[in-house]
Amino acid sequence: MKKMSAVMLISMLLMSLAVAQEVPKEYGKPLTVKKPTKISEILANPQTHDGKRVLVEGPVVDVCPKRGCWIQIGSDKEFEMIQFKVEDGVIVFPMEAKGLKVRAEGIVSVTTLTREQLIEQARHQAEEQGKLDEFKPESIEGPKTVIRLNGEGAIITK
């Protein structure tokens, strides 16, 4: 029994080490774009960047708490951020990434969502963040142009 307990304890310790967070940490495909584009520039002129591959830099200001399937990257200008969305399970961002710096590469996507789509999206996000009780669909206005990056690779550093 003692031997069994020791084996289980060592296994758990090894497991923890195996998935420990190291920084810098690479996610997804290696970055190929050398010159970063300012997030403020993408947000100011979305149509000229739509469909283009870009590299952006900034702080991670929010992380999908359940699936790690998106991060919000703070812009170089105040009050602005951009969502970096990745395919579920392909890249999983940890919540510990909040506040760290990220270099992220992806394709700019500019879409116009109807009010109904925006409500559905907001409801989903509120559900993920456990804030469904604060969700107020009547406060959502639309249609609205949504700019995000369909993410392919990222490096998170201190």
Partner: protein, 187 residues
């Protein structure tokens, strides 16, 4: 020609590979149930929220706002980063918490996300987050599980074996997913 004692070898394989896969099967089962209900809870992190109040902050520059907030909250440690998602909010990011301050009211939300001990690690392995070498270990585990399930069919002979009761139970195991799939694509 000597008689091949295939059942003996079948049972040895079933027993020994069975021992090998116990740990991962238990881990994957627990993680499977946990992740299956991801819409109802967060299987990876325990998120705690604390609400406190500080005096409203009316400073102009970002540096001043951060300094005032840190002084009011007695946060001696330098934050990793500070961010203002909108003119009335300041977020301070620390290794173990995120502090969100509503500047005009002084309402503060302190959010801590702590990985759920052991379950977090199980989920990471189950969802193959480490990738690289773990992909091949997981493949080997799947093959081992296949061997255990197939050899399991032939462990017993007689009325409780695959030619008797075992056949019915195995058939039920096939029927459940097939019937559900037909129902799923029909409605």
């Amino acid at each position: 020609m000597p008689k091949i004692r295939w059942r003996k070898w079948n049972n040895i394989l079933h027993r020994d590979i069975g021992y090998l896969v116990v740990a991962l099967t238990v881990a994957y089962c627990i993680s499977g149930i946990a992740v299956n209900h991801i819409n109802d809870w967060n299987p990876n992190y325990r998120i705690t929220k604390e609400f406190i109040s500080i005096p409203p902050i009316h400073a102009e520059s970002r540096d001043e706002i951060v300094a005032q907030a840190r002084a009011s909250l007695r946060l001696e440690k330098e934050p990793r980063n500070a961010f203002r998602p909108d003119p009335s909010t300041l977020q301070l990011f620390f290794e173990d918490k995120t502090v969100s301050i509503d500047l005009p009211t002084g309402n503060v939300l302190i959010e801590r996300a702590t990985p759920r001990r052991v379950l977090f690690e199980m989920n990471q392995l189950h969802l193959n987050r480490p990738k690289k070498l773990w992909t091949y270990i997981a493949d080997l585990y799947a093959l081992a599980l296949l061997v255990v399930s197939v050899t399991g069919l032939f462990v017993l002979k007689g009325k409780n074996g695959i030619t008797g009761r075992g056949a019915w139970l195995t058939a039920i195991g096939f029927v459940i997913p097939i019937v559900y799939w037909i129902y799923y694509i029909s409605f």
